[in-house]
Assembly symmetry: C2
Homo-oligomer: 517 residues x 2
């Protein structure tokens, strides 16, 4: 049970078929297999040892897909760094996981230069198409000049993957996934989303997130075909679907909304698409109506998962978005247990609650992570008796569908990105004028939710909203920064002194359903 | 990762849906879940302890499906005894695995009485619909009278399943499968055969074989529906497909052949079927032509697997049965690696052979059995360095499709050349007059063994032996072509539809010993 098996299968069953398409480049699975074995050897020659970590900071590309396998081929674990994070955040990740190499592309050349100043990584590999910076290794030259090596991938319970997630404590945590975790997650993905070697998958979600990385590996396991966009853009997505007869894709509802209302929508033939995975939030009534009318061949499947559970834990097939012969519409739900995954709604003691009662989603099965990298306390707090406590509050109906009512961790989902309010509060708090602050998600037509900061200023201070927002941009990624700021004289607190965020949030949501539900 | 998770998921997501239909009986997943928890408790009360084995000797039924889960619910492992075996063979199995209980139905009441004389099992549970024999427990009474217990299923690497396979050495061997083996096999099955909770599966293969047991567990995992036939019979299969709108099934080619040529074929609506799994042998030209004309909605998927690898290891989708845009027909093949399974063609030293060279199929992955029960020698001979050596001779083409040329023991040695009968059968089958054929080695003074073909012709066809031999010379090397041909009205087949080659071969070998044993 090894992550690399996904690739060796594709090479065995479809050696001459084009496996990756990225811009003008396309490569067969035979070529990709050969390149991965060479890259693995090159990493070894660069003293990447078995058990090491290798970080990647890059936009999506065909090469990035190779890296999922090449790094593991050399016996190391891949660490896809978050492409939206600010320098201090990724410095934290680098210091934490101590990679022996960092691989980057043109888009992040400048960021890498800054990272190097704060936490130098010994070996830098440039994966771009311009001139190779002095002292850095060149990705393509390494492939050309190194003979392929035998697969030296780790064993089933060894580390394959570390993915950093924004921490509720303000510090990122490295989710450790074993080969078993990942491979089981891939099989589950394939079975849940009906992939086969006929799958042509459009990648528009960043590979540093599970929504990008898992299809990159799962479609490889099927021997299908990847069509890779460096980032999401409606026009390029339209063109790629039409040109390459894409039949599977993944978009968050915000992207879907953008697509169906785009002025060029009618210009393209999008009828090759059969299945579209979505996640992060339920699909709104307006979007569902629009896709039914405008994308009749597309079947939407909702997926709920966490990096901590190697992607998909709950799924909702398209037919449950409507009333059926034997069921009512489950559209406000998040899906039900996917294959081989145990789901329970539990109380604070971990005891399963009756259907209809709200508790925390707990997840059990072979996909549950090894733990958080070098963080036994956080691991112990999250995995108890083999059950992973998701931090999401939900109830379950009589048909096993879960309905998320709140993120215990108080996450805001803005444009499909998870923003943890605590993390933003930490950044806001660093401003000298701030006495207290609370960050909430408020309704936003474009982003689903917008990050909104409520602030009590220190006496004698008079910071403006602009001051606060500008300050935050120095500390955290742009998408996490508040889009609006509200000043108050005091925070609403309970008699026990606990901040009552719901009193801040509720007035904004009168008559509306939060995207995060 | 527990076998019982398949059931708990079905109960969670489809509690009120009918899960099993058997004759006039139907039960919902909620009822089945409750019955299993009661049965598990009853087994415990009957002193079945964790780690024990519980044997079953019965025809297929809805109750048998419950047993896969109930025995494991109690923490024991299930041992489905072979329903076709003679008393001495099952006595051997009982002595070998020492079950603490034996569960049987009406069909095997007499056999169990005989087994008891030779190897008494302490606890006997009667699962029939007649009067309960004195001193035996009654299945339904146990369920009625016992309160349900919490799931006490074993852990991932613990024993879930022992299945006895006929040994070429003359002694049966008990294949030990862990929960991980089984669950991984189920996920692979679901992904390979496109099951979902919309699956309505017709069971016509005995549950003592993987072709019966794996869909029984896999379709449970999806929350689909089982339609159970006690045994295969064309009329009941037709009627069940039509009545219950069956959409998935599994038949061996001999059964398929029987179905499409049955006089009542036209009377039934069989168009609800979408996918039909088949195995044991490739589908002949005649059968393929017939199903294309008569069963246009059915897509046939070939599966190759062994009990030792928890079912499916190679699969061949329907489109590979024909020439396609990007491939030639692979119809004579057996499929290619299924998800997460490593397949190699290796020489006697276990070294991978180049494509096109014939060697032994070796299989690696999380599905490979724990070993043979109390038989470390046989285990060591079969699993080497984590690879399971199948005993099947095959070669692999450039697209990763394996072509089984024969079971090692079925090889014919003629004039010092190895002739694999399967390969000759494939060539013979391409003749338009051939409905069924079997190729065996018969004694020959000059060549040691001579290639001999036994053929059943299609109705209205009258090919001569010369026609057949001449035809074969177009497809395979001269030394592989039949030297003699025998025409018969029907093949000797088991009730499961499996060709009994020994009955063809034995008369020729009276008083002589074959070189290949």
């Amino acid at each position: 049970m090894q992550l690399t098996q996904a690739l060796t299968r594709a090479v065995q069953i479809h050696p001459r078929k084009v496996g990756t398409i990225c811009g003008d480049r396309s490569r067969t699975w035979g070529e990709i297999g050969d390149r991965v074995a060479r890259l693995g050897a090159a990493l070894r020659a660069l003293e990447v040892k078995p058990g090491d970590r290798v970080a990647v900071l890059a936009l999506n590309s065909d090469r990035y897909i190779e890296l999922f396998f090449a790094i593991n081929w050399a016996g190391a674990a891949i660490v896809p760094l978050n492409i939206r994070w600010a320098i201090p955040e990724n410095v934290y990740a680098l210091k934490d996981c101590e990679p022996s190499a960092l691989i980057y592309d043109d888009e992040y050349a400048e960021a890498v230069a800054q990272l190097q100043q704060q936490h130098p990584v010994r070996c830098l590999i440039y994966m771009g198409d311009k001139a190779v910076p002095s002292g850095h290794q060149d990705y393509e030259a390494l492939i050309r000049s190194t003979a392929p090596m035998e697969n030296a991938c780790g064993a089933k319970d060894e580390l394959a993957f570390i993915c950093y997630t924004g921490g509720t404590t303000g510090f990122p945590k490295g989710v450790m996934l074993s080969h078993t975790n990942v491979v089981y997650g891939l099989l589950n993905w394939i079975a849940s989303y009906h992939h086969s070697d006929e799958t042509v998958f459009l990648h528009a979600s960043a590979y540093c997130h599970l929504a990008g990385a898992w299809p990159a590996m799962a479609v490889t396991m099927t021997g299908g075909r990847h069509v890779v966009l460096p980032k999401f853009q409606a026009e390029t997505a339209f063109a790629a679907i039409e040109k390459h007869r894409v039949n599977h894709c993944l978009f968050v509802p915000t992207m879907i909304n953008l697509l169906v209302h785009h002025p060029d929508f009618e210009k393209y033939d999008l009828s090759s698409v059969k299945d579209c995975i979505y996640g992060a939030s339920p699909i709104s009534d307006a979007v569902q109506t629009a896709v039914l009318a405008k994308l009749p061949t597309w079947k939407f499947i909702q997926g709920y998962g966490m990096t901590e559970t190697s992607a998909v834990s709950l799924t909702m097939p398209w037919r449950y978005h409507f009333d059926g012969e034997d069921h009512k519409s489950k559209r406000l739900g998040t899906g039900r247990a996917s294959f081989g995954v145990d789901i329970r709604i539990v109380d604070a003691q971990g005891k399963e609650l009756p259907r209809g009662e709200t508790g925390e989603i707990a997840i059990h099965g072979p996909q549950v992570m090894l733990g958080y990298w070098r963080n036994p306390e956080a691991t112990a707090a999250t995995i108890r008796d083999g059950w992973l406590f998701s931090g999401d509050a939900a109830w379950m109906d009589e048909d096993g569908f879960a309905y998320i009512v709140d993120r215990k961790k108080d996450m805001i989902i803005s444009g499909g990105e998870n923003v943890y309010s605590r993390e933003v509060e930490n950044a806001v708090s660093l401003h000298p004028a701030v006495l207290e602050c609370a960050v909430i998600g408020i309704p936003d037509e474009k982003w689903g939710e917008a990050v909104h900061a409520v602030i009590v200023q220190k006496k004698g201070h008079r910071a403006s909203a602009e001051d606060i927002i500008e300050h935050c941009h120095k500390w955290i990624a742009g998408y996490k920064c508040p889009r609006s700021v509200e000043f108050r004289d005091a925070m609403p607190v309970s008699t026990q002194g606990k901040l009552q965020k719901n009193l801040l949030r509720d007035p904004y949501w009168q008559g509306q359903r939060r995207a995060v539900t």
